[in-house]
């Protein structure tokens, strides 16, 4: 155990939260290895009931399996915790369903490595300057097109999060992020299991961390379907607003 804590420092960890993504996970891991060759790859298996963990291990990733499904927030926190304890300098995470091209994750990592920000988000909605494809090289796959309910939810969250943080965010629920150790320290202890994406942004800004958005290209998902139905979206939005409101009154952690 001590060897693990004190091993040679590999500075970057890319982790992938995955819940029943057996079909897509191996491809994503291979993609990450190709585009971010110097990073260790961890798959946080969130209590999958299919072959996700086995396929991920086969593909050469380290697998942290939660014994039962805990939700995205807990899975992401597991990744941050692993990165913190493993003494990685930087970490990044992306979805396991193939929506997030690892080439774009590499660009997010460049931002934190250059110390231009503590936490960098990949934004589907922020326009890239110049109209050129952001990634440079062509990324194969169909471009991401948000559904109507997703667009409504996004704009509501955008409004309230901007209100709460006084910083402009376009893609508040982006699951493609890169971070340094300050963020790992914060998120491994304080991370809402219910409303991971939005509350974490609010928290990071409140704690005085530099949060930055980078325009990225996202693709249509390879397998599976979004969990959001219109009714769920409405509930999701309602819950998000309450979480944001409560978050405004949360005491700052002493750091």
């Amino acid at each position: 155990m001590a060897a693990w804590e004190n091993r040679r420092v590999i500075s970057t960890l890319v982790f992938i939260p995955a819940w029943n993504e057996a079909d897509a996970v191996a491809g994503v891991i291979a993609d990450v290895r190709e585009h971010i060759p110097d990073a260790d790859v961890l798959v946080v298996d969130d209590g999958s009931t299919d072959e996700t963990a086995a396929r991920a291990a086969q593909a050469g990733a380290t697998v942290a399996s939660l014994p039962f499904n805990q939700g995205l927030g807990a899975a992401l926190q597991t990744g941050y915790l692993y990165a913190l304890r493993g003494r990685y300098e930087f970490c990044a995470h992306l979805d396991a369903d193939g929506q997030h091209p690892p080439a774009e994750v590499a660009r997010l990592l460049e931002e934190v490595r250059a110390d231009r920000a503590d936490l960098v988000l990949g934004s589907r909605y922020r326009e890239a300057g110049g109209g050129e494809a952001a990634g440079g090289e062509a990324i194969a796959g169909e471009d991401y097109r948000p559904t109507l309910s997703r667009r409504i939810g996004t704009s509501v969250f955008r409004f309230f999060l901007t209100l709460a943080t006084r910083q402009r965010f376009t893609d508040t629920t982006s699951g493609m992020r890169a971070a340094n150790r300050r963020v790992m320290e914060l998120f491994s202890e304080n991370y809402s299991p219910d409303f991971a994406e939005i509350e974490s942004l609010q928290l990071a800004v409140r704690e005085g961390l530099r949060v930055e958005e980078v325009p990225v290209r996202m693709l249509e998902r390879v397998g599976g379907s979004s969990f959001l139905t219109p009714l769920r979206s409405a509930f999701f939005i309602f819950k998000g607003m309450i979480v944001l409101l409560v978050g405004q009154f949360r005491p700052r952690t002493s750091r």
């Binding site: 060897a3 697998v63 399996s65 805990q70 807990a74 597991t78 915790l81 692993y82 299991p193």
Partner: protein, 146 residues
């Protein structure tokens, strides 16, 4: 002004106070005793931890006290300024249950957080074993440790 107050007071004193019949009092006492017996039995069978049982036992005692001394209830109602003892009784019970339910939500939240952290620690432990195993002898060590 003072005249209306006087008439109100007069009306209140004339109104017959709500009295429980001895039948209902006996029934209430029996229910209270049965309730406390149930609590004790649950503790005995390890279905209920002592620390959670205290509040229920106190509730049972309160029920018993209310059944034996009905004057207690009217006294409390007077103290609250409520004319109808039933309203006083229901308000008190409602508030108590509300508080209890909130208390349980707090306990559940804490335990959910603890369970999550426990699950995360276990996941990290297994990932650690995997990296240690692959460093030495490929995947074999990992499978053994599972």
């Amino acid at each position: 002004m003072s005249a209306t107050l006087l008439t109100l007071a007069a009306a209140a004193s004339e109104e017959p106070t709500v009295q429980l019949t001895s039948q209902t009092r006996i029934l209430a006492a029996l229910i209270a005793i049965a309730f406390m017996a149930l609590i004790l039995e649950l503790i005995r069978r390890d279905s209920l931890q002592e620390r959670f049982s205290v509040v229920w036992f106190v509730a049972g005692l309160g029920m018993l006290a209310g059944a034996i001394f009905p004057g207690l209830l009217t006294a409390v109602a007077d103290l609250m300024g409520v004319r109808d003892t039933n309203v006083a009784l229901f308000s008190i019970i409602l508030l108590l249950l509300l508080g209890l339910a909130l208390n349980f939500s707090v306990i559940m939240s804490r335990q959910a957080a603890q369970i999550t952290r426990l699950a995360q620690e276990r996941a990290l432990e297994k990932a650690r074993e995997q990296t240690a195993g692959s460093g030495e002898s490929g995947g074999e060590a990992e499978r053994e440790s599972l």
